[in-house]
Each structure stands twice: as C-alpha cells, then as structure tokens.
C-alpha cells in the first residue's frame, strides 16, 4: 500500500511496529445505497415468492420477529455493560495488587491474573455456571441467582484479569520521574498512586479498555450455550417457530451478525481514533 512511510534519511531500518486496524476506505453514496438495498430486497423477495407461496420469505420472517430479536440483543448489551462494570472495578484492585510491594500479594494476584487470562471464556463461563449454586442463603434470607446473573459474573472474571493487565501496563508506562517528584513532595505511596499516577493512566487505559469491552460484547452470545435466553437462543427459537426450515438459518444468523457488527464496528473505529490521538511516542 502507498502508506509505507519513508524514513527521513532513507535508511533500511524497520519502522516502529504498531497494529493499525483496518477500515473500510470506500464510501457509498446514499442514492446508490438505497438502490442497492431496494434491488436486493426485490430480488430476494421475488425468488422466495416463487418457491413457496404460503411460507414467509426470510425477510418477512426477520421483519416479523425483529422486535423480539432486538430485545434479546438489548439483553446482550445489558449483560456486557454489567460484566464490564463488575470486571473493571475488580480489575482495578487486582491491577493495583499486581503492583503491590508486598511480595505475597503480588504473587497471588499474578497467579489469579494468569489463570483468568489464559482460560478460554467459555470454560470460565462453565466454571461459574456449574460451581455457583442457583441460590444463596444468607442469614435465613434466600437470594435467588438466576442464570443470567451467574453468566454476567462468568464474563466479569476474564474482564477482571484483562483490566488488571491494562492497569499494570499503564502504571508501568508512567515515567519513574513522576514517582520521584511525588516522593520529593512527601506524598505517600498510596497518595502518589491515586492522586498522581492513576489520573495520568486513564488516558492510555481507555483504548485497550474499549477493546476489552468490544470483546465482552461479542462473548455474551456464549451465554446461549449455558441456557440464558439472549439473542442467539431467541434466534434458534424463532427458527423453530417458523417451522425449522433450513433455508432460514443463514438469514436469521446473518441478522444477528449484522446487529453485533453495527454495535461493535463504531466502537472499534472510535478506539482506533483514540489510539491515534493518545499515541505516546
């Protein structure tokens, strides 16, 4: 591509490496986009109206069930937001524990981070779903724990480990002169961390944090495997309700893909934008 940069002096030295996300470089005008949509709808509906006069065409099926499926999608988003909230709070503390000067605290938190970072998300989900009871009894009051809440905790665990690594990396990337300067102003270690170091970290933690969020959102569909009725479960149920016709699979799952794409792609673009803006050289 023509974006290969020239070194000022033209020496054969490798440029600094940074993964830059792909973006769609072309744009479709509103008119041609409308024509494209209209055309594909016409072709699809005419093809289906010829084959099966009584059965609904895939587009009609999606239109009919879209409110339900979108409600399921909203549930996915809710789970992802909640898991992100829980995971971020826990991850911040775990990250600080990773940086602890007490060796045993550092060691234990390192182990916890490694376990939850290296285990597959699905395995962690199973871990929580099967090992946490369906209700808790505390002081004779019974708190029911529905599946979706357990799934949320299951997603929060890997988030916690990933956020902890992000926090650790960000704190490490702050120049040590900041620590020294704070020390010379007689700040304690805790004050330095909370008042000087962490506020500076927020900016550099934001892009990787948003990447993690995008990952969580895409992982929430795993909850369908353990029986939470989110979008993918509903999609399978809608498919069964429409008579289980095999040709409906592709449009229905395609619709789910589209929903996630429309939600995650803007986040991805925004992350890339922030990364460029905050880039530290």
């Amino acid at each position: 591509m023509s974006t290969i940069r020239r070194t000022p002096n033209g020496l054969a030295i490798l440029h600094p490496y940074r993964v830059t996300p792909t973006r769609m470089a072309f744009q479709i005008g509103p008119l041609s986009a409308a024509l494209l949509c209209f055309g594909s709808v016409m072709v699809a509906s005419s093809a289906w109206s010829q084959t099966a006069p009584t059965a609904l065409s895939p587009l009609e099926v999606i239109a009919k069930w879209a409110p339900l499926l979108l409600k399921g999608f909203a549930f996915n988003i809710a789970i992802s937001l909640l898991a992100m909230l829980l995971g971020t709070i826990a991850g911040l503390w775990l990250g600080l524990a990773l940086l602890s000067e007490i060796r045993i605290v550092g060691g234990i938190s390192w182990f916890v981070t490694q376990v939850f970072r290296n285990a597959p998300w699905l395995v962690l989900l199973f871990f929580v779903m099967f090992l946490v009871p369906f209700q808790l009894t505390l002081f004779k009051t019974t708190i029911p724990l529905p599946d979706w809440q357990k799934a949320t905790v299951g997603f929060a665990l890997p988030v916690m480990a990933n956020v902890a690594e992000v926090v650790r990396g960000a704190v490490r990337s702050i120049p040590s002169t900041q620590w020294e300067a704070a020390e010379s102003l007689s700040f304690t270690r805790r004050q330095t961390m909370w008042l000087i170091i962490l506020p500076q970290c927020v900016k550099r933690m934001l892009p990787p944090w948003m990447n993690i969020y995008s990952l969580v959102t895409m992982s929430t569909v795993l909850a369908s495997i353990v029986g939470v009725s989110e979008m993918l479960t509903l999609t399978a149920q809608v498919h069964a309700a429409e008579g289980g016709r095999p040709e409906l699979f592709a449009p229905l799952y395609g619709f789910a893909l589209l929903c996630f794409f429309l939600y995650c792609y803007p986040i991805n673009l925004w992350t890339a934008h922030l990364e460029r803006r905050f880039q530290v050289n």
């Binding site: 020239r6 490798l14 940074r18 993964v19 996300p21 871990f127 893909l257």
Partner: protein
C-alpha cells in the same frame, strides 16, 4: 503409571476428590481423545489462519482496488462479529445450503462439523492475522523493497523472500497474542458438538458427577496448552532474531 492410578484412587477413597480421569481408563481415553481433537483443531486452524493472514496482507498491498476492498470488508466483518455466531452461520446457515453427497446409501453433508469449525475459526483468526501482517509489512522500509526490485525480484518473490521474513519478525509478539486467543477460541467448537476437550470433560463430569475436580483439570489443561504455545512462540522469536532488527 500404576502408581499414579493408585494414588488418585486412594485420594478418592480418602477425601472424596474424584479425579476419575486419572484412574478410570474409560474416562482417561475420552479425555485424551478430546485433547487430541483440541490439538488437531488448534494446529490446523493456526496454520490455515497464518496462510489466510499472509495472503490477505499480500492482496491488501496489491494494486487491484477491488481485491483490496474485498479483503478490507472481510477483515472488518470478521473482526466485529461474535465468533460463535460466525460458527453457527457457517455450520447451520451455509452447511444446510450446501449439497449433500451419497455415501453408502446415506446422504451425508459435504462438510462435517469438524471441518466447518476449522473453516470458521481459521477465517476468524485469519482476519486478525491480516491486520497483524499488514502492520508488519508497513514497518518494512520502502528502500528495502526498492533494493529487492533493483536485484530483479518480482513483486511476489520480493514479498515471499524479503518483506514477509522481516515483517514476521516484527509482528511476532502481536501474532503470539492472536494465536493464543485462537487456541482459546477452539472451545467454541463445543457448540456444534465437536468432541474437543471441553466437550469430553463435560461428558465425563455428567457421568462421574465430579464437576469441581474436572473443572480444575480443565483449567489446568488449557493453562498448560497456552503455556506450551507461548513457550514455542518465544523460542521461535529468539531463533528468528536478527541482530540490529527489532529489540
């Protein structure tokens, strides 16, 4: 072997910790079968995704605008959608539309669940690899490519012999991350009943009623698998290191 078996049998008798895989031959075989399937899935998808990544990055640097747009669309689409839905889309959506073949009087689908899992997971990881390789290629200075051209290399040969070897070296850490991620993503094949480790372990714990013990085995298994992969990648990184290039 016998000693290990006896020890775990004793552990069960004394403490009730039922690590059935380590003393029960039937469970052990099932577990090993699952492990083999996970390894098979991982190795094939890693190799395929590397090929997809290298080919995609070559096309992205190519002259054809249409091909570039197509690769960009592929990367953007696979990066921003859940891999599980991709897997379902391929296996249920495309799998049922594919023609079936006659085999011994039975109609069997053209591609079975294992093959669909390999295709889907490779495309998913391949999309990330395209990005990683492209960024690596962008780090190779233009002057190096010009020097190769001056020596009479064609674009393709220069890519294979000059650009890619340098690009791979700089993008190894990022590639490492993605391949670890791919290894973890192979668990999704569970959803379409590919008998990999998670599937096998779940069968074991439903029959032997030892969820906690098998869960520990499962976490340890993936911890070790990821550890081995990271160790191999680091060794590869060290072996490929050229003094003066990168750190």
């Amino acid at each position: 072997m016998e000693a290990i078996r006896n020890w775990f049998q004793e552990l069960y008798d004394k403490t009730g910790l039922n690590f059935s895989v380590f003393y029960d031959a039937y469970d052990w075989n099932r577990y090993v079968g699952g492990l083999k399937m996970t390894l098979f899935l991982s190795v094939t998808t890693i190799l395929l995704s590397l090929v997809i990544g290298a080919a995609g990055a070559l096309v992205q640097g190519g002259r054809s605008k249409m091909a570039r747009i197509a690769v960009n669309a592929f990367v953007v689409a696979f990066r921003n959608t859940p891999p599980l839905v991709q897997l379902f889309f391929f296996y249920f959506g495309l799998g049922t539309l594919m023609p079936a073949i006659e085999s011994g009087g039975m109609r069997v689908p053209l591609l079975n669940n294992i093959q669909w899992a390999i295709i889907s997971l490779s495309l998913f990881a391949g999309a990330f690899n395209v990005e990683i390789f492209r960024s690596g290629i962008e780090a190779v200075p233009r002057t190096t490519i010009e020097a190769a051209e001056a020596l009479g290399y064609t674009r393709f040969k220069a890519y294979i012999y000059i650009v890619l070897p340098l690009a791979i070296r700089v993008c190894l850490p990022a590639l490492n991350n993605n391949l670890v991620n791919l290894l973890k993503t192979t668990t999704l094949a569970y959803a379409i009943a590919v008998p990999e480790t998670l599937y096998a372990v779940k069968q074991i714990w439903s029959e032997s009623q030892n969820v906690l013990e098998m869960m520990i085995v499962l976490l340890a298994t993936y911890g070790i698998l990821v550890g081995v992969l990271v160790w191999l990648m680091h060794r590869w990184e060290r072996a490929m290191h050229i003094p003066g290039y990168g750190r």
